[in-house]
Amino acid sequence: MTNANFNIYVLIKQVPDTGSKAGVNPDGTIDRARAKRMMNPFDKFALQAALHTKKEYGGTVTAISMGPPPAKEILLEAIEHGADAGVLLSDRRLAASDTLATSYALTKVIEYLNTEKNHPADLIFAGLQTTDGDTAQVGPEIAERLGVMQVTYCEDFSLEGTTLVARRIVEGGHTVVATPLPALVTVANAYTPLAYKSLRGAKKVQYLARTPEVEAEYISVIDLDVVNADPMLAGLKGSPTIVGKTWKIGEVGGSCVVRQGQSVANMVTDVLDATPVDEFLNKKEAVPV
């Protein structure tokens, strides 16, 4: 089965690095201009899944992203890890896209690549969700627009010919599903973490940095016109939802009775006396003192 020539896409996004202090305002909001940037951590699992598929079953991996020009960084990072090429959809008219508008634009990119390659995608991997949006909606919305099968919350998978067998996390356990390709898979962070960059990939990216004309062969930056997308269906205009208002999660409380500096036994007795613990005590079995 290693001779299959799967056309594999992986959808990745550049997000603000909230782990770094840079660009994070004291109230927790993010100043995107000052914030450090990183590949969405969930997407690293998706990239690993795509690269694993290529290695085990054969094919090519194209990383696809949508965002402002610096998002090219994560496409190069994907190539360092072993992806074959990267495509960035970058267009000012994409600003203020909600999930439905994002799914439209990315669907147009996928359809464009399918035509370019003369081979529709067999597998599309995406991260479960992003750290800056937390919706987990864009993947399934793309699957619906493309009319392909989907497996979300995937924590492990294998291919039996052109049947995808996937373990899907559900509340209190998991299910194992089998589906024909093509399919879109959102990969949960219970999957294998992204492997180290390959030496070959890292050398390739170093070479690309020195030779922009060759870089253009590996990384294409395209806009809505290239993929024949209707700007009315993208960005703010194509978004059925809007952020109406935001506010801080209100400060609460101030009524806490804090015990401090007394003996531990006294403090505990005081708190237990003040709390209706009695109703919840486990009286079913005698607990030895």
């Binding site: 919305e141 703010l236 505990v268 003192v289």
Partner: protein
């Protein structure tokens, strides 16, 4: 007009152009989707019925509930007792287990068969709801808000000149409030331009109504027409993992440990404290989970569970906002922390400043004495 009156009037201002008025409420249902786990109603369905009831009453529209599965028995009646006016039932062998495509087909067929599209459609923010809702929303090319923690109905004035066709005053909009930016902010998301206005709601946030067996409601069977493509995905296995079945949301008492425990061993102490109570489970802060001391299913807060137990004992948890949003609605919160400036003392009910490795064993000893005395 006298001169005196004229001077009282403020300087003439150019009249604000009136915004065109759009009524988004054309009588469409508020529709919620009830989920089943192993044939049993998942709590989130009953929570959604409670929220849906409030929204439907504000709009003056019916509340419907969709339940999809096989051999549903008394489930439809239960949904009526918990607040639905209409219960749509899709009962079919192919629907016994959740699968994206068959469930999507049933939902879309039902929604398209109605005179008006539903005004609002709500699902749980679960592995099922987050799989199905975007698929349905994309089918109808409508908006969907994820992981909502508050909802209401109200007007919305859209004045964004960048998008002139949408400018106007909209009535009857769904206010879907969700946390954003690491839960330090709440954002109200609106989608008044198209019905249904859709959202998934975080489990454990809304409180179910008391069931009323005298309520009148209608149960309607809905036709199930699946294509071969719809059923192309098959389920090979369903595995229940016992250690994954920590039901934080149904516990009366949650004993939560944080980074202050210092190591995985600390959770044994949490278990021991939990064993003093009936229906008590162990919870954890994200930092403790990230440190690998306890599995993710125990996590309370931001990316974990929202709990509202009767008693919450937080041990070595600083009480960062990410944790607070998941537990601040507990009836009574006891906090144990060695740092007197820990934010948790700002919103707990009772606090003990001290080393949890001294305080918790003392608490266990005193509780055990109470138990033997009882």
């Amino acid at each position: 007009m006298t001169d005196a009156e004229a001077t009282k009037k403020p300087a003439e201002q150019p009249a604000e152009p009136e915004l065109p008025l759009f009524e988004t409420n054309v009588g469409g249902q508020v529709m919620i989707v009830a989920e089943l786990t192993d044939g049993q109603l998942a709590p989130v369905g009953l929570e959604l019925l409670s929220m849906g009831r409030e929204l439907a009453d504000k709009l003056g529209n019916p509340l419907s509930c969709v339940v999809i599965g096989h051999n549903l028995g008394d489930v439809p009646n239960t949904l009526g007792h918990y607040g639905a006016d209409i219960v749509y039932v899709a009962d079919h062998a192919e629907l016994a287990q959740y699968r994206t495509m068959p469930y999507k087909r049933v939902m879309c067929d039902l929604m398209e068969s109605l005179e008006h599209p539903p005004h609002i459609v709500l699902m749980g923010s679960t592995t099922t709801g987050r799989d199905l809702a975007p698929r349905v929303a994309a089918h109808f090319l409508t908006g969907l808000t994820a992981d909502v923690i508050e909802m209401d109905i109200g007007p919305y004035e859209h004045t964004n000149k960048a998008d002139p066709e949408k400018v106007g005053l909209y009535e009857g909009c769904l206010y879907a409030v969700r946390p954003s930016f690491g839960e330090s902010l709440k954002a109200r998301i609106l989608g008044p331009w198209k019905n249904p206005q859709m959202a998934t709601a975080r489990p454990g946030v809304f409180v179910p109504l008391q069931p009323d067996t005298n309520r009148s409601f209608e149960v309607k069977a809905i036709p199930v027409n699946l294509t071969a493509e719809d059923t192309a995905l098959t389920i090979r296995d369903v595995v229940v993992e016992l250690n994954k079945n920590v039901d934080l949301t149904a516990a009366d008492v949650v004993i939560a440990g944080g980074y202050g425990l210092a190591d995985a061993e600390g959770f044994k102490l949490m278990e021991e404290l939990a064993s003093c109570f009936d229906n008590a489970v162990v919870g954890a802060s994200r930092k403790a989970v990230d440190a690998g001391w306890i599995p993710y299913v125990h996590q309370v807060g931001q990316t974990g569970k929202t709990v509202r137990p009767k008693l919450y004992i937080a041990c070595g948890i600083s009480g960062a906002i990410q944790h607070r949003v998941g537990m601040s609605k507990a009836d009574t919160i006891i906090a144990i922390n060695k740092d007197p400036d820990a934010p948790i003392f700002g919103f707990a009910d009772h606090g003990i400043v001290g080393d949890l490795y001294q305080v918790v064993p003392e608490m266990i000893a005193q509780l055990k004495r109470q138990i033997t005395a009882a």
